[in-house]
Symmetry: C2
Subunit: 341 residues, 2 copies
């Protein structure tokens, strides 16, 4: 490809016939200028396509005005929406986002982390969707200026941002308990991931609070995919529908699960109640509209970027911390009292 050089403050200053300090202070908002001079500088900025960028400067002395974003499964609308939220926040702050989709493959994650390290980004938002590997944590710690989002990478001593998975499980459990479900099934992602552990813990705690020992709580673990949703539904049917209500812990799992139930003529909520998690897809148009825990995807994306920009990376003691964003219950029509009630 043809090489072009980034427009610098100096180019703008020279085109406008003023000093670099004048342009810089105008952009900082620390200088008032005659309208005519300001117009000349504005025109030079436009003509040269210069993108002023105070935030990136704060991040890095060797500024690139670009942050990196590594996501697992970009075909999953949850991650698509999360990426869009980071991108919008970056746009608002005048930053570019260099995005890498790993297909949730550990080898590709490691390659991209190394590539980003070589490419001098000013910082990195990292999202994985599989149980963590020691190698990944080590590489993240070596890379520096990384915020881990959505799922944990254990051993990575960096700021972390998750939705409040425990609270989400609790809300789902309370909703099912309120409808009298004491034989329930949890269909979650990989067993070792915090989304699975915490959602299940919250779910169990709410149901136990409702029913004590008079509770049958089963759990199927797999991947956050449509395929696993289908497999889980088949197992549920093969086992003779051992629960009156199911908590499917992602939109993708829900899609596969409902697909199989529909095909087998099992009615929601008449035969089985169902509650989902994510609420990114058009669940409100489903037959029936699906009740779900909604993840604050936009808020997570925005906050991820602001954590990256606001962390004091010189202060090692402040790095390893965790922040949670609350979720909410969206009630639609997929939960009803159990048939036997």
């Amino acid at each position: 490809m043809a090489q072009t050089r980034a427009t610098s403050l100096k180019d703008v200053a020279s085109a406008a016939g003023v000093s670099v300090a004048t342009v810089s202070r105008l952009l900082n908002g620390t200088l008032e200028l005659p309208a005519e001079t300001k117009a000349r500088i504005d025109k030079a900025i436009r003509d040269l396509n210069y993108i002023p960028n105070p935030h990136a400067r704060r991040l890095s002395r060797g500024r690139s005005d670009t942050i990196g974003l590594v996501v697992p499964d970009i075909a999953n609308p949850f991650f698509g929406m999360l990426v869009a939220a980071v991108e919008e926040e970056a746009d608002r702050r005048g930053l570019a986002v260099s995005l890498f989709a790993t297909l949730n493959r550990p080898g590709r994650e490691l390659s991209y982390l190394r590539l980003l390290a070589r490419n001098h980004v000013d910082g990195l938002v990292f999202i994985t969707n599989h149980p963590d590997t020691q190698e990944l944590a080590e590489l993240i710690n070596a890379t520096g200026k990384v915020v881990v989002v959505d799922e944990d990478v254990q051993g990575a001593a960096v700021p972390k941002l998750f939705c409040d998975n425990f609270q989400g499980g609790q809300l789902a459990g309370e909703h099912l308990a309120d409808h009298g479900h004491r034989r329930v099934l949890y269909v979650g992602g990989p067993q070792q991931m915090i989304s699975t552990e915490r959602r299940f813990a919250g779910f169990e705690s709410a149901l136990s609070a409702g029913f004590g020992d008079d509770l049958s709580l089963m759990r199927y673990c797999g991947d956050y995919t449509v395929d696993f949703g289908r497999a889980a539904a088949r197992r549920f049917l093969d086992e003779g529908r051992p629960a009156s209500a199911v908590f499917v812990s992602s939109d993708e799992i829900a899609i596969g699960f409902i697909e199989v139930l529909c095909a087998e003529g099992v009615r929601i909520p008449d035969d089985v109640s169902m509650i989902g998690f994510d609420d990114v897809g058009p669940l409100h148009l489903f037959a029936p509209p699906l009740t779900a825990i909604r993840q604050p995807v936009r808020a997570i994306g925005q906050r991820a970027l602001s954590m990256l920009l606001e962390t004091n990376w010189e202060d090692a003691s402040s790095l390893a911390r965790e922040e949670l964003i609350p979720v909410e219950l969206v009630v639609r029509s997929s939960v009803a009292p159990p048939m036997s009630a």
Copy 2:
């Protein structure tokens, strides 16, 4: 971030105690080696994390092993799935993908194109989702090694890859004509875009073939967004439902349109028949399951990458060409004969 150097063929050769030519020819498949030597080289490749990459080498002498991908609206699952398909194909070929989401904003598109030019990618797959600007075409032509996908950028003299929009419109028109709909509405994207023009042209041609002059064909144009779908549905209702069938030309538009119809108690297909385009979302779970033209999203993504790698960029006369991938009709339950029939 910490700097790391990419592992070279030379590093591998030196670790394995063989010549660079030996490693190179082994990777090319042009050399048979004793098992023990081959094992030593394989081990060095693994230990050093060297990623051999014949395809990237073909593309560029100054190989970066990375291609660029620019997409408009990453929150739209259509683009998410397209990106995943490019990424998978790149993974299969040992290439990295540097991804940029423009939010469909022309300024951000231009910035990313410039950034990619500076960053030495080996080639670029470019997708926009708004009517084209002259500036964009000029920048694409100056950048070189670009394949334009999904929507046209007029004036860009590069290989282009689209789904067969005309055929898709035709299939939709035939399906509605078969059910006796002669008062129909087309709800499409921006007027000047080829997806809109071609789908409408195909739609009109099929309906005209069916009904000649005894046809009422209306058209609303807007954006490929849920919001526009909602607005179009409100207009449709305000105008007293002037059609017995509606062709909504994207999943996003369909979601907004159906949402409003449902809220107003308009039944599909009893009151209004509906056919969609894209079929990326879980339309099969909608109430009712939506009949739609399915875009071959994975095939488009894979082919986009192979066009980029297989084009002879030295031969200027072969660059400006257009390739179409056929679409298909997926029949579900949202089209029925009109009520008056």
